[in-house]
């Protein structure tokens, strides 16, 4: 009887001891099997099983740039203009563009001829404008300089509205323009364009509609 009980305990002890020692051995075995030799490598290749989302990709739809050009302000001469531009490319066809530019206007012919007359003070001669416009890439294209050397180009139209600050007053201004884009790389482009800014003012007494042409050259980067 006693030996039988002992045998049961002994067996139980042995089994548990075996289990205790063997458990990690089995686990280690499993691991070894997977990394074992060439076959293991084929069965479990070292690939990161990640899920691809749109957010994994860098989106280059924004464009920021500087420009320099000539702005002809009706009655106030042709003047250098500098500005910044910020665009968002909505689709391959449409883009929205915000512009801000500053210029310093000259004296009118009347002021020059009459001698001492000053229509505006020095501060009032400063002109600045901002606008938001919608652009359309009308003629996308490419230029081929050599067999392998090609650049993307595009002719676009742009129209919008904004405000011009001149003679210390704001004037609501419509703008219309067109330009030519030359993409040096995917993300760097040169932009030669013309705009017409049209606004009404009463600086000479009566209300007068003016058209102010601007030609400019800009450089932009996409990010």
């Amino acid at each position: 009887m006693e030996s039988r009980v002992q045998r049961i305990f002994l067996a139980a002890g042995l089994v548990s001891a075996l289990g205790f020692f063997n458990a990690p051995v089995f686990a280690a075995d499993d691991k070894d099997k997977n990394n074992d030799g060439e076959l293991g490598k084929i069965i479990t290749p070292d690939i990161e099983r990640r899920h691809i989302k749109e957010a994994d990709l860098d989106l280059e739809d924004f464009e920021v740039g500087l420009y320099y050009g000539v702005l002809s302000v009706e009655d106030f001469g042709s003047n250098a203009v500098t500005g910044v531009t910020f665009s968002y490319h909505i689709t391959e066809d449409f883009f929205a563009q915000a512009n801000y530019g500053t210029s310093k206007t000259q004296k009118t012919s009347y002021e020059l001829l009459s001698g001492g007359v000053e229509l505006l003070t020095k501060n009032q001669r400063e002109l600045s404008y901002y606008n938001i416009s919608l652009g359309y890439n009308l003629l996308p294209g490419q230029v081929y300089i050599t067999d392998k050397w090609r650049f993307n180009t595009g002719v676009y139209f742009v129209a919008g509205a904004g405000n011009t600050r001149f003679a210390e007053k704001d004037y609501f201004t419509y703008n219309l323009g067109a330009g030519f884009k030359f993409y040096a790389t995917d993300w760097l482009l040169f932009d030669l364009s013309m705009r017409d800014y049209s606004f009404k003012h009463e600086l000479f007494g009566n209300s007068k509609k003016t058209n102010n042409l601007e030609s400019r050259l800009g450089v932009s980067v996409f990010f």
């Binding site: 690939i47 990161e48 099983r49 990640r50 899920h51 691809i52 989302k53 749109e54 994994d56 990709l57 860098d58 989106l59 280059e60 739809d61 920021v64 968002y88 490319h89 909505i90 689709t91 391959e92 066809d93 449409f94 929205a96 938001i132 919608l134 996308p140 490419q142 090609r150 993307n152 919008g160 509205a161 904004g162 405000n163 210390e168 007053k169 704001d170 004037y171 609501f172 995917d186 993300w187 760097l188 009463e202 980067v221 996409f222 990010f223």
Partner: protein
Amino acid sequence: MKIKIEKRFNRSAKACAYCLGIFTLCSASLLLSASASAGDFWTLNWFTPDAPVEVTVNDAFINVYNAPGRGYPIFHVVERGETITLLKMKTDWIKIRTVRGIEGWIKRNDVLLTLGPDGQVPDFPDTTQADYLVDRFELGTAFGDFDGADSMSVNLGYRFTKNLSTEIRLAQNTGQYSDSQIIALAILHQPFPEWRISPFIGIGAGTLKTMPSSTLVQVEDRKDHILQASLGAYVHITGRFFLRAEYINDYVLTSRNTNEEVNEWKVGFNVFF
């Protein structure tokens, strides 16, 4: 076997673009430090290039264009089973590189004909669906008439659900006798977001600053509170691009005896991102 292709990033030139992005990065890092713990933030290596985004073509073929535009020539095709690396996106185009190092552009929707490393189709939501717009920011501009004055406005909105969004409106009205500026906060409800022409109603409140022209009698600038009720419609043009037309009834709570009612009409465009 994988062929490793050397990255041909012109780092010094790209640095230029990065400088411009620094401001964005600073604000982004502020956001990130708020969400991730401070420890994570400092140990993150910002300049490690991301792991390449690789997918395998799961259709007969995908056309590869030489520039991101529908009219540009297709100069290459990638076939079933071929692995391509997705480099970047520009509007509805994705720049890719093949195993042999050929670079070109594929249409954004063609990425749905590929499988990612996990054997799943990459997650590129359909931009024409109404639910795409949930949880997204909306930026727009509009031009119109504010009680005889020319008005130009911008709005920045956030869409909580398919139907409900909130927005901040800024407007500059340039008139013959006075200029004014409006800043307002509004809530919009769009009952049928899936319609191509989808109407909306909105209510808002804000302030109106009026600046009479200095060429007239010397009058002081006024600041009044306004309440707005608006009715309008979004017209879907393409992808994330909408036309928006709106009528706003502004109720100006003046400090004088009578309140003023001003009608405002505008047309503009909005973009979701």
